[in-house]
């Protein structure tokens, strides 16, 4: 037997407002700490290599997600790569239009199987294409905090073919 009474007037439909009031504090982790420190201190990118699976992970991992081996083979990768895919984002986190749409991309780094998801800048959206060569623009060392945002964005190195 379903409900015997229902709400029949709009003003009787109440809602209670509230939130989930906790915040998060996230360690960079064992592999992430070394990766972000290297960016912060030396403006360099590191990966870890799984010799069994022949994969260079960037961001580096403590473990290979495919064979589950511990990874301790650290390699430096250059801050250059290719746009694997990209988008032009028009909304902010409140789903309101951004004043200026932002370009975002997954950049597959040279010498790595992985790469970084980040902003693209110093280019117009119509000039971006998949496969385009780009490089990381690091913030000034004094502004770096050991965060993925120590990279300000990626920018094109050469134009699309």
């Amino acid at each position: 037997m379903s409900m015997l009474h229902r709400i029949e007037h709009v003003h009787d439909a109440l809602a209670w407002e509230g939130d989930m009031p906790t915040q998060g504090r996230y360690t960079a982790g064992i592999a992430g700490e070394r990766f972000l420190r290297e960016i912060q201190e030396n403006g360099k990118l590191l990966g870890t290599a799984c010799l069994t699976c022949d994969i260079v992970y960037v961001p580096p991992r403590l473990y290979c997600e495919r064979c589950f081996d511990h990874l301790d083979e650290w390699v430096e990768v250059p801050p250059t790569g290719r746009v694997y895919t990209f988008t032009l984002v028009h909304l902010d986190l409140d789903a309101k239009p951004l004043p200026e749409p932002r370009m975002m991309a997954f950049v597959q780094l040279d010498g790595a199987d992985g790469g970084l998801v980040h902003f693209l800048d110093e280019a117009e959206p119509e000039d971006i294409c998949i496969g385009m060569r780009v490089e990381a623009v690091f913030k000034d060392k004094t502004e770096r905090k050991g965060s993925i945002l120590d990279i300000a964005y990626f920018r094109p190195v050469t134009a699309c073919q």
Partner: protein, 383 residues
């Protein structure tokens, strides 16, 4: 399957973009009453186990399973939540029955998406907190990047993606459950404002509130309860890596792997020939195409053309999302895959009204967990 499992009851409520007249408990209760009536069971006596699909931050409550038993008649019974897609919940129920220790298991999923005031923030809260979340971008950027890669890898056109929207929202006009029916054209879709280019506003499913309850039973019990059981022939589920930085962008690997498991458990060798229609995740228009290819229902890169040619329309050779899908019904958060499965059940029973497909025998439902995940689950049903 080792032991046969059937759906013997289905119930639903809501399926509207807002439902201010009902609490989530009341929404669930209404769906449960309907499902139990249809199955002819008393939950306090007949059900051996209950599974609910829920995620804490979709509910605004930690440990949401606390609030599940009362309105489902599940008090003092085995109850657990699956924090997963609705079809993961179905798979959990199927596994329980296959153990031989449970004869009747109930699965529930629901959405009160309208109660979430900050949905993009909730999705952003699912990102890796160190490598992705600091970018603080609207999470649909992942869909925009994925769509871009998919279009380039497969040669699919944006127009073909937009055909999915036109098809599904027109299908929804024939579905009394669906709240997003609209007689819109491909050009309307392409003219809508950009969200994360190439993705446009009308290519993203809106959200709905709703609850869905299924009653599953092992074969002897099922036959005793109903003349028209809908049999679960196969289930499968899988994940790709969670990392944005090493996942497969063009091919939906999780869908391929989930389908392969479902086909294996169902003994299906050539899915396109052996399955009559499908309800597949279309949270974003391109996802329907990408999923159809990964599910092996058409060759890689062929879904767009097939759709544009009308092959997946209601009257086509292989109807896809006759219900209208998430684009037509609204996305029901964790319950979206159950909505896909519900339509398969209704079609196989011949209860789909104006949108009824002629004499279907085998249907597939596939659900995806949404951005930024790579989790999906499939179920194959027969009458």
């Amino acid at each position: 399957m080792i032991r046969e499992v059937a759906i013997v009851g289905a119930g639903w409520s809501g399926f509207r973009s807002i439902t201010p007249d009902l609490s989530y408990k009341e929404l669930m209760y209404e769906a449960a009453v309907q499902a139990y009536e249809e199955a002819g069971i008393d939950p306090r006596r007949d059900v051996d186990s209950f599974v609910t699909v829920a995620e804490d931050y979709n509910e605004g409550t930690s440990i949401f399973d606390e609030y599940v038993p009362d309105q489902l008649g599940a008090l003092h019974r085995p109850v657990h939540t699956i924090s997963g897609e609705g079809i993961h919940g179905l798979a959990a129920a199927v596994m329980q029955i296959l153990t031989g220790r449970f004869d009747i298991v109930v699965v529930e999923g629901h959405s009160k998406a309208s109660n979430i005031l900050t949905l993009p923030y909730i999705l952003a809260f699912a990102f890796d907190p160190v490598f992705n979340r600091p970018l603080a971008a609207h999470p649909y950027y992942v869909a925009g990047m994925e769509m871009m890669r998919y279009l380039v890898e497969t040669g699919t056109t944006h127009r073909e993606c937009a055909c999915v929207v036109a098809k599904n929202r027109n299908n929804a006009l024939l579905n009394p459950l669906a709240g997003f029916g609209a007689a819109i054209s491909v050009d309307d879709v392409l003219a809508s404002e950009p969200v994360a280019e190439p993705l446009k506003r009308l290519e993203c499913a809106g959200h709905s509130d709703g609850a869905i309850v299924f009653v599953l039973a092992e074969s002897a019990t099922a036959r005793a309860l109903t003349d028209a059981p809908i049999w679960v022939r196969g289930v499968g589920w899988a994940n790709d890596t969670f990392w944005l930085e090493s996942r497969s962008w063009g091919l939906a690997r999780y869908a391929r792997d989930a389908a392969q498991m479902a086909y294996r458990t169902a003994g299906i060798k050539s899915p396109r020939a052996e399955i009559d229609f499908a309800e597949v995740d279309d949270t974003f228009a391109y996802k329907e195409l990408q999923h159809l290819e990964a599910l092996g229902l058409c060759p890689p890169g062929a879904a767009g053309e097939w759709t544009a040619a009308g092959g997946t329309e209601l009257s086509g050779e292989f109807p896809v999302n006759p219900s209208g899908g998430a684009l037509g019904e609204g996305h029901l958060l964790d319950a979206t895959g159950l909505a896909r499965a519900l339509e398969v059940v209704l079609q196989l029973r011949g209860e789909a009204g104006q949108r009824q497909i002629a004499d279907p025998e085998v249907g597939l439902a596939f659900g995806w967990r949404g951005v930024p995940t790579t989790g999906g689950a499939a179920v194959i049903l027969t009458n």
